[in-house]
Amino acid sequence: MFKRLNVVIALLIVASLALAACAPAAPKTIKIATQSPLSGGQSLLGVDIKRGAELALEQLGGPLTEMGFTVELAPYDDQATPDVGVANAKNIVADSAILCGVGHLNSGVMIPSSEEYHTAGLAFVSPANTNPVVTTRGYAEVNRIVGRDDVQAPVAEAYARNELGASSVYIIHDKTAYGQGVAEFFRAAADENGLEVQAFEGTEETANFDAIITPLLASNPDVVFFSGIYNQAGVFFKQARDAGYEGTFMGTDGMDASDLAALAGDALTKGGGMVYTSVAGPAAAYPKAAKFASDFEAKFGSAPQPFSAQAYDSMGVCLSAIKNAAEAAGGEVPTREAVRDAIRALSYDGMTGSIAFDSIGDLPTAKYFIIKVNATSAETWGSNEIVAELDFASPGMGE
């Protein structure tokens, strides 16, 4: 008994030594962190952010490796909670090998965590945070390659009015910073332009939408604008259609996933159909995106979730900026500050378009697509068509 116990303890010690040993990395090692929820209910999106970045590192890490660097991914799980996100942020900041980061999924986690990145001068590129506050604080470290809620929403609103000829809208959001953010801007635009907002409802419900659908049917709006993520929206669309709603569904870039069609089936094409706005076009719009999707599926066995492509590009931005900074530093490991500044100076040709950042880290002009869904199953997701493609300038810091 005693002997065995000693062996166990010895093993434990060796294991922990190994853990300890792995911490101080080789001098030419560069790490790039990702932070996204890898466990819990939101891990579906979070894991694919990590995977998008992982794939990018594998495919685009070549130039840095050729310069003699070892490039590693350091994936952190923020569990979609600010507490864990901030703690990880401090851990990331303390790891001097980390020069750039990709994340987060939730603006609610990004905002407090980026305070840490800001103080440490560590640049982060966000693949998913559309909340204006993320960049309007004006931090040099915070960038995003997605559009902003306050742009995306007016685009959608204008489309509803002008192209769909809607006179009334029912706004539903998912009670997250993201969903509500877009929804508020949509409402503001609608109020301004005389589109009647019949209701503005938030719901955390993910399964049973009866209580929302019943009054909705009684109001019978021309358009239902759902601001949230597809796995909630898809269920909602299906239930609403089944209950007899005949108008048009609209959604945000959170809908950009083939599983939306798997969830909602022909609810997306029946009646008034469904359109969504997106900052990234469907695969057909970009040859690179098609390759990404197939590479992703080959590596991970499933189609990429929303924001995965953006994570790929975020990683691309990081790698490219590090390379520039390293070249400027004469082949040595660059400083964080250099990487930070290199990102802002970068002009990167990404999968989702050409990427450059303005003074607060937004894309100066972001592309917004309006996509009409023709798919009734996940396999036919590629048959969706772009009905409008718009360039919008970033509103900057706001008033």
Partner: protein, 446 residues
């Protein structure tokens, strides 16, 4: 197994050994952390030191001295080298205070509270609303905050709000308790659970009709209390910079600053909890927990005493809420979910229901597991998968490990396993509660 530990404990607790062990751990830990600031093992060795102080027999004076040395000198210095440690200890302190508060309610008074973070939320939102620009944004749309808005209060109000947060949370506890404390155990549990959800849903939804909480967007920025004047900071800076080997920014000082605030609050919380426990009120709580009927027959007013317990427990959470809001400069409803309540309850029970040192250990273990050990482990595996390492005997390349088996994705699973195993093998917790032994020599003389 138990024997082994008993022998081991007896051996190191013998004669002068405790001093050697403690000093050894202190110096070894400090040096190791200093040399390799990101090593988990090094930090764990250092963290064994406070355990040694607690468990081993030494003169109280020496214990206090080592404790102060560790808390006031070593940890801040090492923490500035790697601020993550300060974050770990800060979170441990926050959750330890919460666990101490919940321990009063659940452990001492035996009232199962499943919505405890509600009080934490009350404190956090109190300072968030007054310490941010929110008051001038009451009529604006959430998320569309005008950057030009003014802060409504000077950040120094923070110190007052510590006490206001405490008082408001206590008041909330009383208001909740008044109607529901007559309920039997499990009914009380569900009502508190509901109350916890109500507070969260309110935080999520009170962005209309007036925008009090800014809804899911959360409130940011929230002000922090100002650091001491710059000439004092410069002194510290001059001392610290050569030691830690890099420039020390204000932001890093803030980490130390909040570490000290949390440390002071947790110390006070421990003293308060101890004093309450060992008094007429604490005895009444335990009596209520053991047998309500007998307790009331002894003249203990049940509802009043339960209200005290609720208020006392809530006040711990309230004050920590204020600190948390200021530290994060951001609060949002996500921090106050039901799972957080469960998390705190888990700390209490894992550590030892009713045991003050136990719940602190419980908080430390859970926080440590959650934000350090499991993360480190998955990072380690992740780096293995990116390397060319191969498991020798079975000739398995780590690279081929399925992506789906990434442990980072299964922290909850590991955590759940630990809970179940702990409950089966150590149901009374890591440090079970013990009753105070009194000096009763007088009796034997008779």
């Amino acid at each position: 197994m138990k024997n082994f530990f008993d022998n081991f404990y007896a051996r190191i607790n013998n004669g002068k050994n405790p001093y050697y062990v403690t000093f050894g751990l202190l110096i070894l830990g400090a040096v190791l952390v200093y040399i390799s600031p990101r090593s988990l093992l090094a930090f764990m060795i250092l963290m064994l030191c406070p355990m040694a102080i607690y468990f081993l027999n030494m003169e109280t004076k020496i214990k206090v001295l080592i404790g102060i040395l560790l808390a006031v000198v070593i940890i801040p210095v090492l923490g500035i080298r790697n601020i993550f440690y300060l974050e770990v200890i800060f979170q441990i302190s926050v959750f330890a205070a919460l666990a101490l508060g919940l321990n009063i309610v659940v452990g001492m008074a035996g009232l199962l509270d499943l919505g405890y973070v509600a009080f934490y939320a009350v404190g956090a939102y109190l300072w968030a609303i007054f310490g941010s620009k929110q008051l001038s944004l009451l009529y604006s749309v959430p998320g569309a905050a005008a950057a030009s808005a003014e802060f409504s209060l000077d950040p120094r109000w923070f110190w007052l709000f510590l006490f206001l947060g405490l008082a408001l949370a206590a008041l909330t506890g009383i208001l909740l308790g008044l109607p529901v404390l007559r309920l039997r155990g499990d009914y009380l549990a569900i009502v508190t659970l509901g109350f916890g959800e109500v507070i969260r849903v309110l935080a999520l939804n009170l962005d209309k009709p007036i925008n009090l909480t800014n809804g899911p967007q959360g409130i940011t920025p929230i002000q922090r209390p100002p650091l001491p004047p710059s000439y004092i900071m410069d002194v510290f800076r001059n001392i610290l910079e050569p030691i830690v080997g890099h420039e020390v920014t204000d932001a890093q000082f803030y980490n130390v600053f909040f570490y000290f605030i949390a440390l002071i609050v947790i110390m006070v919380a421990i003293v308060v909890a101890r004093r309450l426990e060992d008094s007429r009120i604490g005895r009444a709580w335990t009596a209520i927990r053991e047998d309500e009927t007998a307790a009331i027959a002894m003249g203990i007013p049940l509802v009043q005493m339960k209200l005290y317990a609720f208020a006392a427990g809530a006040s711990f959470a309230g004050i920590m809420g204020v600190i948390y809001g200021a530290n994060r400069t951001f609060v949002s409803p996500e921090s106050f979910s039901f799972l957080q309540s469960i998390g705190v309850l888990t700390m209490v029970i894992l550590g030892g229901l009713g045991s003050i040192p136990g719940v602190i250990i419980g908080a430390a273990v859970v926080v440590f597991l959650n934000i350090q050990v499991l993360q480190t482990f998955s990072l380690f595996l992740s780096s293995l998968r990116q390397s060319d390492a191969v498991i020798p005997i079975i000739n398995f390349a780590w690279r081929d490990l399925s992506n789906q088996l990434d442990p980072a994705k299964y922290q909850k699973l590991v955590f759940g396993l630990i809970l179940v195993i702990m409950m089966i093998y150590r149901p009374a917790g890591l440090i079970p509660a013990e009753r105070r032994q009194r000096e009763l020599t007088h009796e034997e003389d008779e």
